[in-house]
Symmetry: C2
Subunit: 164 residues, 2 copies
């Protein structure tokens, strides 16, 4: 599946000819620094299948592309903003990888119009599933905040002179 080498949406390459012309690939140290995480974290993400460096040297050294870095930032975002664990994040990323693949298939001229509509609808489903959880979280937070604001207004009323 997906035999075309090279573009695997920043997560699914395995190795690389040694003569690739190194377009801004970073060692694990620089990559970690740039993404604001530890080297250990990058290896750990790889171990869980969240992030595979776009290429590795013949000697086994990991080389990270800018796309890889972006993926790490995405992981952190999903962690801190949504509070997802790495398992749930894996699912989200799998969905996003699937969507990227769909987009490539979509633009392939051999894809029929009917297939295109099917793929597009699949994309929508995947996106909506994430949107639902995010929206739920946002609504809950909104409620929390408005509750807080109500209490703040109450306190301000006290300051302004209106009793209890």
């Amino acid at each position: 599946m997906d035999a075309t080498p090279g573009r695997g949406s920043a997560g699914l390459a395995v190795s690389d000819g040694p003569s690739a012309e190194n377009g801004q690939l970073l060692g694990i140290g620089a990559a970690a620094a740039r993404a604001g995480v530890s080297e250990r974290a990058l290896r750990y993400y790889q171990q869980l299948g969240l992030l595979v460096p776009t290429c590795t040297t013949s000697g086994g050294l990991r080389r990270y592309s800018p796309d890889n870095i972006a993926r790490v930032e995405r992981i952190r975002e999903l962690q801190t903003l949504l509070g997802l664990n790495l398992d749930e994040i894996a699912t989200v990323l799998r969905n996003e990888d699937r969507m990227a693949q769909i987009r490539r298939t979509y633009h392939d001229e051999r894809t029929s119009d009917e297939e295109r509509r099917r793929l597009t609808r699949e994309c929508l489903t995947l996106q909506e599933s994430l949107r639902a959880t995010v929206e739920a979280k946002r609504a809950a937070l909104e409620g929390f905040l408005s509750d807080l604001d109500a209490r703040i207004r109450h306190t301000q009323d006290l300051l302004a002179g209106r009793d209890n």
Copy 2:
């Protein structure tokens, strides 16, 4: 400070005469069930000073009031919604306890008007500090969501016929 027995903002009582007329106090099992947490969690929260049952029997059994249950629910809310750890939650709860105390002092007739204004301003400060972190989180989530929505709209455009 605050010699009137009973009302300690649901977190700061220690023991109780054995003849208290038991107004809906729950054992740890029932309390845990009602709050949707484990008994261990309740003991753990107490150990960290987050939650002290309003009374304990002479034999050392914990008795939880409805206010205690509400406090547990508050703890869970702060955990899941805001992603705070129990240490940060302790700070938030200390602030809220302080505000409750301020409210009591406020309504004491012996409190001068000037003192009242001072306390009210202190309340406002405490509330704003929490509000800031919540609002930051909300904004971040909002951004995440709108980004998601943009991508969904793009996909929907594809479905509707508009290319790329």
